[in-house]
Symmetry: C2
Subunit: 181 residues, 2 copies
């Protein structure tokens, strides 16, 4: 389905995350799931890092097919230092600007089937195609939308009384898992 989103911005639309976070007070935005886990604010910062340092820069590298097609590792915690003291609103504006520009650039490339099969080298995963990179961008995004909703739900774990064991979103734990996005 990659690159076949009719009109609009498809599942990568930056307005989806804005709607999820719009007008919420701080406790909803800064709560997390425990030490070393991401709050909604962190998720947004992480997505900004992806726009600036991951998906499109890697796509460029693949398309250029220069002497090295090896990607820079993606720093999953770059946002922590970068965004200290920022407001959620300013991060939202920044994310939307970056995402829109990246989607425009992506569309302007008018990628061919052959280009989608070009390869780069992921520092941990080895060879990957441009098609897989773009699909991973979409899935990564949706994973963080799911995470934002899940983390917000967790803030109510102590409020729901006997419903707790019947709302899986409150009792699952994020598995730290490997970090090679």
């Amino acid at each position: 389905m990659v690159c076949e989103w009719p009109g609009g911005t498809g599942p990568l639309g930056e307005e989806r995350l804005r709607a999820l976070l719009a007008d919420l007070p701080e406790p909803w935005l800064l709560g997390n799931e425990g030490p070393e886990t991401f709050s909604p604010f962190d998720n947004l910062g992480h997505l900004i890092d992806g726009e600036e340092t991951d998906w499109i820069p890697r796509a460029r590298l693949i398309l250029a097919q220069g002497p090295s097609v090896r990607f820079e590792p993606y720093d999953r915690f770059r946002h922590r230092g970068r965004n200290a003291g920022r407001t959620l609103q300013s991060l939202q504006s920044e994310f939307e600007k970056l995402r829109l520009a990246n989607l425009e650039l992506l569309r302007s490339w008018q990628l061919t089937a052959a280009q989608l099969e070009l390869r780069g080298e992921h520092p941990a995963l080895g060879p990957v195609t441009l098609r897989e990179l773009l699909a991973a961008w979409v899935a990564h995004d949706l994973g963080h939308v799911a995470q934002v909703a899940r983390v917000m739900a967790k803030q109510y774990a102590h409020e729901v009384g006997p419903w707790l064991p019947f709302l899986p979103v409150l009792t699952d734990r994020p598995s730290p898992g490997p970090s090679a996005s």
Copy 2:
């Protein structure tokens, strides 16, 4: 935090789900995670059932404190028959109408701390307070927003190549779990 959402509709805003699903073609809306799991379309139908048969009807029952405060069981699959042949757009409009009316009603009650401690009887969970019911409404909603994003991500599980094991949202499975929402 229940009932302290300043302005707007807080995390229960129906526009959040609309933004997540807006302008997406059918494969994104009808895909699921396997037999007996919910697609985004099903999630929306299930949330409509909640508006019509669960949260507010139960809140009314608690507030009335009549001879019986026992809730009707919540049919998690009511939507399957109810919405056959419907479009996502018509479900969205219906959900928004129901949700808005329910939030207006909730606000109009101007619930007191004492009322929030009134109890009803859940058919499976036993005694629950109005406060817990309203919190469960919020958490249940966010759980389904997370599910919608997760199920959409799953549709790309075969597209991401070597990224698969590094995107947990693609490999987790929804635990069927007990159904007592």
